[in-house]
Subunit: 255 residues, 2 copies
Amino acid sequence: MRNIKILLMYDGNSYSGWQRLGLSEKNNSIQGILEETISSYLGEEIHITGSGRTDAGVHALGQVANFKSNTKIKLSALMEDINRKLPEDIRILKIEYVDNDFHSRYSAVSKTYEYRIDTGERQSVFSRKYTYHVPETLNIENMKKAAEYLIGTHDFKAFSTDRKDLKSTVRTIYDINIYKPLIKDNCHNQNELRIQVTGNGFLYNMVRIITGTLISVGEGKMPANDIELILKNKKREMAGITLNPQGLFLIKVRY
Amino acid sequence: MRNIKILLMYDGNSYSGWQRLGLSEKNNSIQGILEETISSYLGEEIHITGSGRTDAGVHALGQVANFKSNTKIKLSALMEDINRKLPEDIRILKIEYVDNDFHSRYSAVSKTYEYRIDTGERQSVFSRKYTYHVPETLNIENMKKAAEYLIGTHDFKAFSTDRKDLKSTVRTIYDINIYKPLIKDNCHNQNELRIQVTGNGFLYNMVRIITGTLISVGEGKMPANDIELILKNKKREMAGITLNPQGLFLIKVRY
């Protein structure tokens, strides 16, 4: 058996998320659709491991996954054939053999997520499924100050939705980059604000709560240095709302 | 009765096009939905005139329309209320009173359409409903040369789908701008090529046939100076294919 790594792009709007929940129920997960498509094409039962779960509605520009197979088919041909069989909102961008000990999840050293906010007075009809709408002028300088408090190794319990199976809620955030994409045309997206968060791993809903909190700061509803207090007190209710999944993209996984 | 002008943005994917075909059938046209929504809100039967018909699947970033009404409601409040009632893929961007003799179609002096092409090896899942996919390297210089032949006043019969009701197939193209949008992020759309066509009016399918022909030139299937011959011979079959509607946007109408 050889180990095959794939790079994936998907539009999460139609899916229940990355993770396949059970073999019996209707399969509407990205993982499940990939497993069914590739297994049926190769004629062998394959199991796909992703770098992490993306929630229902969350998109990916650079999800990484791997699976083991005995196939002798040339990988480039395999990728083309499988792309033709996949639904049009899921695509394999790259495929390669990797060492047998490569594991999409355990081998990852960092991940970058991006949250996209449409700050236009009216949300663009073209990006409505890919942004969260905040029709207000956000104080970006204050958001950047608030973001500084989050960088580093902290207990992010307040910035996550509780899950009982967690051993630790300590994570490291390497960088938070808040920027307006420079799009030089007079069409859609010119009012976007994007927040990229890079870390060694993320708790459940962590990026969506962090960005929800940064928006509260940008709206002037919360002072930037409240972040310090929230980290210290570890109380979910002190942080901002969990933003909707449609604005969230998994951008890159590094190994 | 006062004359009210509106600026509109819509995602054409779910609609049968701009024009309302008949009052009895299922209403799935942009015009029909606007008429029903505004009439029901104002409690008076209103009729909306657009600057022109966009076909099924074609989008608009700047469609213009007008209607007459006796309403005393402040226009900014009217716009907000109607936007809340419209489906989320149709939005009024601007509303204003205009002279009684203003007519969205007859008063227009020029229109700009834009056709968007994804030239990436694999079409982006995020712009698949808003681009046409040409996974090839296009010779843009040759496309620009070909476009030069189209600029000016010509009989564009070869670049249109026949319709019996037409008095003349002569139109004037003021400009064709072929460009790659400068999008400075590492995400989607970085492989886009856009063709903007500005003219005093367009025949049925004219922009989609012009862009289909320019792509043939870009692919090396047709020399640039064939355009001269096609214009002269007025034969539809000499021109390129009619590209699909999903890549087409009505950008601007000038008065």
